[in-house]
């Protein structure tokens, strides 16, 4: 079985929601739509207070190449165009849409009776550009958590060409099972989406990388591929190791190629897309449905009803938590995403956004950091770093503001996976310092580049 070659750790998996089905959450009556839901320029608002919008209509127009459209998740009236506090407590530009009873009924009816807008022949007739345009219009972004606009990845810079699509179904983060659940319930849609992505990228090969702890998903997808007679799509079983879901690590694991330092992943000829993104592409192409809902794993060791919920984007995080039984009393941290790379939040009334793959409530006893001890130079962090860096050195250089040495030691290669901090027996906050150094050095590099120009 293959895996990536350098470093990696084995955090306890704790996939407590692995066997639970996707639960469809009722359409909310009011949603808050954030305009900066993706990496890149925020979408610009094209509606005003009092406007009536239909479910799936564009409310935020992409600004620039690296940007994505934002759609109305429900039909209703725009009641507010305002700044609202996001999950991290910072104000962000939003609109609030409230639905009347009529709107609500219509939405439910539309969802229940969704019919394909394109027949399979029509879909086959679509060109690569057509598919990319549909993806662009539907505001699809990478649903693994990084929320990078999908269409940007499908349009490689001049001089580079893709030869394979790698589908990221690794889900290496502990606790999260949203991709797993999606694969078990919608294998056909995923495979159709993968085929569309292959055509959009103009390649004839796709590899779906899945970790061995999802054996039922692997066998199901393999079975469906052979039953549907899909040529070019294969499923690759990968060894369980964190951070295999990182783009560079996945390319290494699946293709045995390493993305050179500072280069784009496309330089290896691979386009990596998340499995949920593939499903979103399928929905957009077949049903004309933009990205207005996604599967969210709401979980935690002491959560009453952990599960995988298909949530409308824009509904408050607190509503999802309430469905899972509320915030347990012993909660120390609420994390958006997984425990290794997710971000802690302070405001649970904030709206959900496209990048929310999971809501994890960790008890205080598990999430509290241990007291920091002196570095005993055990080299565990060096062995664990999947990028072959020396975290102990980077953290120390950053702490003493040695920015130039930090750049020489390739701090910009860091993928912030957290293996170093996870593995340190002295519980040193290695990644905290490295991240600080990375942002400082990154700013210096950008300043230098803009000066040159």
């Amino acid at each position: 079985m293959r895996t990536f070659h350098i470093g990696g750790v084995h955090p306890p998996e704790n996939k407590i929601t692995a066997s639970s089905k996707i639960i469809d959450v009722e359409l909310p009556r009011e949603v808050v739509v954030v305009f900066a839901q993706h990496i890149g320029a925020p979408a610009s608002c094209i509606v005003k207070k009092g406007d009536h919008v239909e479910r799936g209509a564009i409310v935020g127009q992409a600004t620039g190449f690296v940007s994505a459209n934002v759609h109305a998740p429900i039909s209703g009236t725009v009641t507010k165009v305002d700044k609202v506090k996001g999950a991290n407590g910072m104000p962000c530009d939003t609109i609030t849409i409230a639905s009347s009873d009529d709107d609500h009924e219509n939405d439910l009816k539309a969802i229940r009776e969704a019919k394909p807008i394109r027949s399979s022949d029509e879909i086959k007739a679509l060109s690569a550009k057509d598919i990319i345009d549909i993806i662009d219009n539907a505001g699809i972004v990478g649903l693994g958590g990084a929320t990078f606009p999908t269409k940007v990845k499908l349009c490689p810079p001049p001089g580079m060409a893709a030869d394979v699509v790698v589908i990221n179904a690794v889900e290496c983060e502990p606790y999260l099972t949203n991709d797993h659940a999606l694969m078990l319930e919608c294998p056909d849609g995923i495979l159709a989406g993968v085929e569309m992505l292959m055509r959009a990228a103009n390649v004839d090969r796709a590899i779906i990388g899945i970790e061995a702890n999802k054996a039922n998903a692997i066998s199901l997808l393999r079975q469906r591929i052979s039953e549907l007679g899909m040529n070019g799509i294969s499923v690759m079983e990968l060894m369980v190791k964190y951070p295999q879901g990182g783009e560079k690590q996945l390319i290494d694991a699946v293709l045995g190629k390493e993305v050179p330092s500072g280069a784009l992943p496309i330089s290896t000829g691979a386009i990596v897309q998340n499995v949920a993104t593939a499903y979103a592409v399928y929905e957009a192409v077949t049903y004309g449905k933009p990205l207005v809902d996604r599967v969210v794993t709401v979980t935690g060791p002491s959560v009453e009803r952990p599960g995988n919920y298909r949530a409308t984007i824009g509904m408050p995080i607190s509503e999802l938590i309430a469905l899972a039984g509320g915030v347990p009393t012993d909660t120390g941290k609420i994390i958006l995403g997984g425990p290794m790379m997710g971000k802690t939040i302070v405001n649970i009334d904030a709206p959900t956004i496209k990048g929310v793959s999971g809501i994890l409530m960790l008890p205080e006893s598990m999430s509290a950091r241990h007291p920091v001890e002196p570095c005993i130079r055990c080299a565990q962090c060096v062995s664990a770093c999947p990028m072959g860096l020396e975290p102990y050195l980077l953290a120390t250089l950053s702490r003493y503001s040695e920015w130039e040495d930090l750049e020489k030691e390739k701090v910009m290669n860091c993928v912030e996976c957290g293996c170093c901090s996870f593995t340190c027996p002295s519980s040193r906050p290695l990644l905290d310092y490295i991240r600080l150094g990375k942002s400082t050095v990154g700013a210096a590099i950008r300043a230098r580049q803009s000066q040159k120009k």
């Binding site: 330092s261 909660t331 425990p339 130079r377 080299a379 290669n413 996870f422 027996p425 519980s427």
Partner: protein, 317 residues
Amino acid sequence: MNQILTISASPHLHTRRTVASCMWHVVVALLPALAASLYFFGVGAAIVVITAIAGCAAFEYIINRWMFHRPSTLLNGSAILTGLLLAFNLPSNLPVWIILIGCLVAIGIGKMSFGGLGCNIWNPALVGRVFLLISFPVQMTSWPLPIVNRWAYADASTGATTLGILKMGGDPASIDLWNSATGAMGGSLGEVSAIALIIGVIYLLAVRVITWHIPVAIVGTVALFTLCIGGNIAIELLSGGLLLGAFFMATDYVTSPMSHKGMLLYGAMIGIITVVIRQWGAYPEGMSFAILLMNSFVPLINRYIKPRKFGERGAGK
């Protein structure tokens, strides 16, 4: 919801391993060798081990408490480990006062003068041992005979070590390899039983406290180099402090290199220096000197031997 949430940067999980657990794993790995030494050297071994551990623990506590004004670090087990390793490097008839001097040098000079755990350049136990070896050459090289001295301490009858016999021109054929493997021979109290040490290192590798790089590099280089100069590989490997040094002293976290490539170089150099001292040096045994010498080079090794970075292999495999 009225709870006050905690915010912090990712990752939010942490391995269960702590500094203390690493240290205690090594102590556990040394227990078979301790049992062997108690079997062969009896009371003397017990006295030396207890004195060394108590001495090291006491000095660390005193220095932390009254010189650094820091909280006690006894529970992380590093001082106890240093004491145990120091005792393993001493003959079982060493007077208590000499052991205490060794403890003071090991903890006081070898470790705390650099700032405590994690800051020292040289392996503290070896600093103590070499200090004693140079200062008290007679006491440090009178080796009690195994088994017959179980109930003797200061009045133990002594003999030469295997390496001493060889240095004096003894016949390698006269040495019983089985005795060398089990430990029924003269020597420092912890180094004699090769079998017990191997059990210990297998435990350390199994719980992933150490990696294979340093022990394999040392043992491999010694074997290869001995072969090249026409020595007896089995005797070289089984005698003296080679296995104790390769498994437990050279692998000390603080004083060994950070990258795997660096570890291999460090181990290989220790192996070469050891054989050179054994063959052509004035001392019959060179393991401790070799380790201390290479400890000095660790910062240099860390500076110039870096792990392979991701992406250096390039896109084309």
